[in-house]
């Protein structure tokens, strides 16, 4: 979505207002909120779930959730789009968890993990997202393995086991890439004063 800071501020203010009105059960505001945020959130769900039907279901459940819980959104604590994204991502990760339980017996026979999705690769996305946020330096400071593992986990919802299979690396290695990568990212961002 908007990468220009002024546009981003304007968009956030708009989303904030729509969320506030949704909390008051204003259906028109809710419809507008859906129109404004759903293309972004649907893209998030599609990437993680990799199936249109599953992504549609996750989006639908998320918005039903937003309708009921808009009042629990606390403006001071996170940006509106961040809050909405966290709802959709959690819903998607829940679906993946259920899928994992369903397919646990098939897991050993699975040859590799398909992560193909149209458009930019997770790594390109990570850098593009960082670009918009001026976090590029922190993302670039990650080791290539760390960056790749984090990008795949974040955008495609891969688990440690799936990362290991996809990257053809031992489980222990990808686990430590993720852990160290996150640590390094946090240290770098905190130094840059981007977050607390």
């Amino acid at each position: 979505m908007a990468s220009d800071p002024a546009k981003q501020l304007e968009r956030n203010a708009r989303l904030l207002q729509l969320l506030a009105r949704t909390a008051l059960k204003d259906q028109q505001a809710f419809a507008e909120l859906y129109r404004a945020a759903s293309p972004h959130l649907f893209a998030v769900a599609l990437r993680i779930l990799r199936e249109a039907a599953a992504a549609e279901e996750a989006l639908q459940e998320s918005f039903v959730n937003v309708w009921h819980h808009a009042a629990s959104y606390v403006a001071a604590k996170s940006q509106p789009l961040t809050w909405l994204t966290s709802i959709v991502r959690n819903r998607c990760l829940d679906q993946l968890r259920r899928r994992e339980i369903d397919t646990v017996t098939l897991d050993d026979e699975e040859e590799g993990v398909t992560v193909a999705a149209p458009g930019p690769t997770p790594q390109e996305l990570l850098l593009a997202g960082a670009d918009a946020l001026a976090l590029k330096a922190c993302i670039e400071a990650l080791e290539p393995g760390q960056r790749q593992a984090i990008a795949l986990a974040f955008f495609q919802g891969l688990s440690h086991a799936e990362l290991a299979r996809h990257l053809r690396e031992p489980l222990g290695t990808v686990k430590s890439w993720v852990r160290r990568g996150l640590e390094r990212l946090r240290a770098c961002l905190d130094r840059a004063g981007v977050t607390r």
Partner: protein, 235 residues
């Protein structure tokens, strides 16, 4: 809490937001997070760091059936239990609390000739989502009327009306009537079903919705809620 604990809380929160915390561990973490403020804060920090990255994704407009499904699923909840839930009111309460001082000042100014608010007054500042007060409703113990004054100019299409609602603790909103006629600086008097202290006894908030001319055809709010505010008892 020692450094090691803080580090591991941070690490778990990071994995949770990244999505690599899975299965039972994820469910357990979610349970812990609900009661552990430190974990919840760590998660929020990671959400701030990571989630904006997803804005790089090219947006994809979902098919129309998704929205239709959402509407179908929330419709049941809006007609059965009343379309204005208390959650909304609770959210509002905090916001409007700060307007109370202003409300008193305005009430004194508007409710001439009363030199000051009598004992047992009830005041409701109705404001929009921008938190700007638009209407002021007030009454006093024993009174059968609610006085509604416009604080800001209201623009209203000719075929629309503003309807005032009581939002009870439980159950559906109850209409108090139309307040469309109120001009800035002017006021309207609305009859209450009982004496103020009784009529508004279990009413934590009032709201104004946009309705067709003549008011809601269904007896429940049908249009957007434009203004709302908590009932303040000054006794």
């Amino acid at each position: 809490m020692n450094l090691g604990e803080r580090e591991s809380a941070e690490a778990l929160a990071g994995q949770y937001v990244l999505g690599t915390l899975r299965g039972k561990a994820r469910a357990r973490f979610e349970r812990l997070m609900r009661s552990d403020r430190r974990l919840a804060d760590a998660v929020r920090g990671w959400e701030e760091r990571l989630l904006p990255l997803s804005e790089a994704l090219p947006p994809v407009t979902p098919p129309e059936r998704v929205w239709k499904g959402i509407v179908a699923r929330i419709r049941g909840t809006t007609t059965a239990a009343g379309s204005l839930s208390l959650r909304g009111v609770a959210w509002w309460r905090g916001l409007a609390l700060s307007s109370l001082a202003l409300a008193v000042v305005l009430a004194v100014a508007l409710l001439k000739p009363a030199p000051e608010l009598p004992e047992g007054s009830l005041v409701v500042v109705l404001a929009g989502p921008d938190a700007k007060p638009a209407l002021l409703a007030s009454t006093a113990r024993g009174s059968r009327y609610l006085t509604v004054a416009a604080i800001a100019p209201l623009t209203l299409a000719a075929d629309r009306a503003l309807e005032l609602w009581m939002l009870p603790e439980r159950g559906s909103p109850h209409s108090l009537g139309l307040v469309s006629a109120v001009a800035p600086g002017g006021m309207v008097r609305i009859a209450l079903p009982a004496a103020a202290e009784q009529a508004l006894q279990d009413i934590p908030a009032l709201a104004v919705s946009l309705e067709p001319k003549g008011g809601s055809p269904t007896g429940l709010p049908t249009g957007p809620v434009l203004y709302s505010g908590p009932v303040k008892r000054l006794y």
